[in-house]
């Protein structure tokens, strides 16, 4: 699933392009900005490129694309409620969705955009025409209610799939929570991601199988994948410096290692809509912000170190004997060292919903994690929710959990073995 096809079209580095353009056309501005610390103007990672011709295969024999795949720049995430009680309808929907996703990930339309007959409606809505595949990945998840007697799937329920336990500081709203099916569409062009979800939602309506529940549009990936520089969340901090990267950790913490065909090789997707009170945050002094995260804002280094990837030293004390990394800081509470070595794969994005009813900027983090046991997420979040100093500045307003089946081989569809 990590293999990619790279057509001959030259890769475009968005940040590289921006830097180049700035040098050529607004040199004076650039000169002014380079006066800031060198880290701010460092060139982007050579591997961290936006290539709108890049494709990932939908079909495969391992995991679905969109988990291990390097995070793209944009996401449209949507959940659905099943409205048909028919097992066959659910099968049809998953099969139509799989076929459509396979087409769209190749950069194709899912059907005729302009049918030959004037009285016909198009099968594809058309807005992604000519935009290229843009590294689109579509990842499907099945919620707890799918595995019920209603669909004859109660016996197939993956061992770890259950509603998440209530967690400290939860402020969940039903309108941002739950769902029977999830669609995570990520791409380097937001319109490509939106088109994918829109057309999948249309198939759900056409087949009368599922209705939309909640959606989040995210941008500027807030978690790093392998080979990527660590991006920043809307607090301005690098997030995901210590994210899962190696195959061994994927096998140990992300993929479900046992169970029957159709379960093994899958994962659990935890989704949290986390509102950030960014206007309050912006008034907080930098020393306190660093203490809240346990990292330096600009370099991303732990407060105990000098470079981003320095391992945090939670034992280090300052001259007065106080821990250099405060025990209630985000990094201290979330660190695997302090959670019996437990890790989760974070694949989050920033989001904004514009301005809220109070006239404040309405923004936050669409937190998405993948793990082979939802208890791993609960364990970490229970600590964060209870003690994290960051809690002053965030509210968990949405929550959902899904089982993400392994990829479908060509000629089949996501979840097919469950119906065998």
């Amino acid at each position: 699933m990590t293999e990619t096809s790279r057509p001959a079209r030259p890769a475009l580095s968005r940040r590289g392009l921006l830097f180049g353009a700035a040098a050529g056309t607004v040199g004076a501005t650039l000169a002014a900005t380079t006066a800031s610390p060198a880290a701010a103007a460092a060139p982007p990672d050579a591997e961290d490129l936006v290539d709108l011709a890049r494709t990932y295969p939908f079909y495969g024999t391992a995991e679905q694309a969109g988990i291990r795949t390097p995070p793209q720049r944009h996401i449209v995430f949507m959940t659905f409620d099943l409205v048909s009680p028919q097992r066959a309808d659910l099968q049809h929907l998953l099969a139509r969705w799989s076929a459509a996703a396979a087409q769209m990930m190749k950069g194709g339309a899912i059907g005729r955009i302009e049918p030959a007959r004037p009285d016909a409606v198009g099968l594809d809505t058309g807005e992604a025409l000519g935009l290229g595949p843009a590294a689109l990945t579509v990842t499907f998840g099945l919620g707890p209610a799918v595995f019920s007697d209603r669909y004859g799937l109660a016996a197939q329920r993956p061992a770890g799939l259950r509603p998440l336990a209530p967690l400290p500081s939860d402020a969940l709203k039903p309108e941002f929570s739950g769902g029977d099916l999830s669609v995570q569409a990520c791409a380097d062009d937001p319109q490509v991601a939106y088109h994918a979800v829109r057309d999948l939602a249309r198939i759900a309506r056409t087949t009368g199988t599922a209705a939309t529940r909640f959606a989040v549009l995210g941008f500027g990936r807030a978690s790093a994948g392998p080979g990527q520089t660590t991006p920043r969340n809307l607090f301005g901090y690098k997030d995901g410096t210590r994210n899962i990267r190696g195959d061994a950790d994927f096998d140990r913490f992300v993929w479900i290692g046992d169970g029957p065909q159709g379960i093994r090789g899958g994962s659990y997707q935890v989704v949290r809509k986390i509102e950030m009170h960014i206007e309050n945050w912006d008034t907080d002094r930098i020393g306190d912000q660093n203490a809240v995260f346990g990292r330096f804002k600009q370099s991303g280094a732990p407060l105990s170190g000098r470079d981003e990837f320095d391992t945090p030293d939670f034992a280090l004390r300052d001259a007065a004997g106080a821990p250099v990394i405060p025990p209630a800081s985000h990094v201290a509470l979330a660190a695997p060292e302090n959670n019996d070595g437990v890790k989760i794969l974070r694949r989050s994005y920033n989001y904004t919903d514009g301005i809220n009813a109070l006239g404040q900027l309405d923004a936050g983090l669409l937190f998405i994690s993948y793990q082979n046991d939802p208890a791993h997420f609960e364990r970490i979040q229970a600590r964060l929710g209870a003690a994290d100093r960051l809690s002053e500045y965030v509210s968990h307003i949405g929550s959902a959990i899904f089982f993400v089946p392994p990829a479908a081989p060509e000629g089949s569809y996501i979840g097919a073995p469950l119906f065998a």
Partner: protein, 418 residues
């Protein structure tokens, strides 16, 4: 319902418009052209085997070579033929049709790799047919039936649809008659200065217009330009605050609604509005009775009634003073369902799956609406207050959306069966 705007001065009934054919589809009609097109015709000239009196043709959809629809036999003897369709590996191919003389004789939708084989059976007379695989590298393939050129089921389907369209015209005539009577009652209440009776009869008159509103828009009074709302009968009867043309002002149902429910007073101007509405509804009635409908007009009209529900009723915009939006909502749905019911016998022949889906979706909408029934309120439905709207609109809107998508597929099917 019809894309053309008609001039009300026209005296001839609307006539059937020639069906515009896409070159590719038009070509499919001619067997000679097809065979020339079709390399598939070369090897599979042997006729399909007949099992229990039914010829068996297997069609396999493959994803290679840009997407292929492979027939195991390209001909069959006259009589019943079963086409079994399996999508083995073609994510881009989700539908398949059997065409005869440009008409859809049978089809399968919702094809996707991994799903079980689906089949349809049609009785075919001798002649040339085509298998249409939208999106395949070769979309059209010839299919030949040998033997007597029997009268096919097609003509029955077309006749059923034509019968339905004629039946629908009677339905619309009945509704405009009832509307004229109801509006006459409303006008009399207003003349008598009876506010309570006028409010009640307003709610009783409204749903008639809502049932057929997609048929009655686009009429322009003699001597007016297309863009002049002073001559637009739909504007004069059904304008509201959101489409107010300041140059023409308030007219019709909603001007009366504003007097009855907002200011709560019947004035000389209300009486003038009542007289004007009665006159315009009478004009509508005369014009509507000259209309003829094609099957696809029914389908497109039903679709636009549902669009009306989504844009004006769910939002509570239509009846902003009387709040009888749910009465209008039910009127739109009933009009759409009637149009569908008249098409259903023909559609059953063409695409029974689609007919069943649409029927189930209508049932879901009606179940949702039934929750708001209130015999005490004029019009029979709960008052659509802001609180009710905020609580219920998302659910109602989704239920309608679930009906809109399958319903939108009908026009194409019935148009091709003409």
């Amino acid at each position: 319902m019809r894309p053309e705007t008609r001039n009300i001065a026209a005296t001839t009934p609307a006539t059937l418009r020639p069906v515009r054919r896409h070159p590719a589809l038009a070509a499919a009609a001619g067997l000679a052209a097809l065979v020339a097109l079709s390399p598939a015709a070369r090897a599979e000239t042997d006729a399909a085997p007949v099992k229990d009196g039914v010829a068996q043709v297997a069609i396999t959809l493959l994803g290679d070579e840009g997407g292929r629809c492979v027939l195991d036999h390209a001909s069959a003897p006259a009589g019943p033929v079963t086409f079994s369709v399996t999508n083995r590996s073609a994510p881009g191919l989700v539908e398949l049709e059997l065409l005869g003389d440009d008409r859809i004789l049978g089809e399968k939708e919702n094809l996707a790799p991994g799903l079980p084989t689906v089949a349809f059976t049609v009785t075919l007379g001798g002649g040339g047919y085509a298998i249409y695989c939208p999106g395949a590298a070769q979309e059209m393939q010839a299919f030949t039936v040998t033997g007597a050129a029997a009268a096919t089921a097609t003509s029955d389907t077309a006749a059923l649809l034509a019968e339905g369209a004629a039946g629908y015209a009677h339905y619309v005539d009945g509704i405009v008659d009832a509307m004229a009577t109801a509006v006459g009652r409303l006008r009399a209440d207003i003349d008598a200065g009876d506010l309570a009776a006028a409010r009640r009869d307003y709610a009783l008159a409204r749903p008639f217009y809502e049932r057929i509103e997609s048929d009655v828009d686009g009429f322009v009074l003699d001597g007016h330009a297309l863009t002049d709302n002073a001559g637009n009968l739909d504007y004069l009867v059904d304008m509201r605050a959101s489409n107010l043309d300041p140059a023409v002002g308030w007219h019709g149902f909603h001007a009366i609604e504003r007097d009855l429910f907002e200011s709560g007073a019947i004035t000389a101007s209300t009486k003038a509005l009542g007289v004007e509405l009665e006159r315009n509804v009478e004009l509508l009635r005369t014009r509507v009775k000259t209309l003829a409908y094609k099957p696809e007009d029914l389908a497109n009209g039903a679709a636009s009634l549902l669009e009306e529900v989504q844009t004006n009723k769910v939002s509570g915009e239509e009846e902003s003073y009387s709040h009888i939006d749910l009465v209008d909502f039910a009127g739109n749905v009933e009009g759409a369902e009637q149009a569908f019911a008249f098409l259903e016998p023909g559609l059953e022949r063409i695409d029974p799956d689609l007919a069943a889906r649409v029927k189930a979706a209508f049932a879901a909408v009606k179940t949702a609406l039934a929750a708001y029934r209130d015999p005490q309120t004029p019009g029979g439905y709960a008052t659509y207050t802001a609180a009710l709207r905020d609580a219920e609109a998302p659910k109602l809107s989704r239920t309608i959306a679930a009906l809109q998508e399958p319903l939108a597929r009908i026009a194409e099917k019935v148009a091709t069966a003409n």
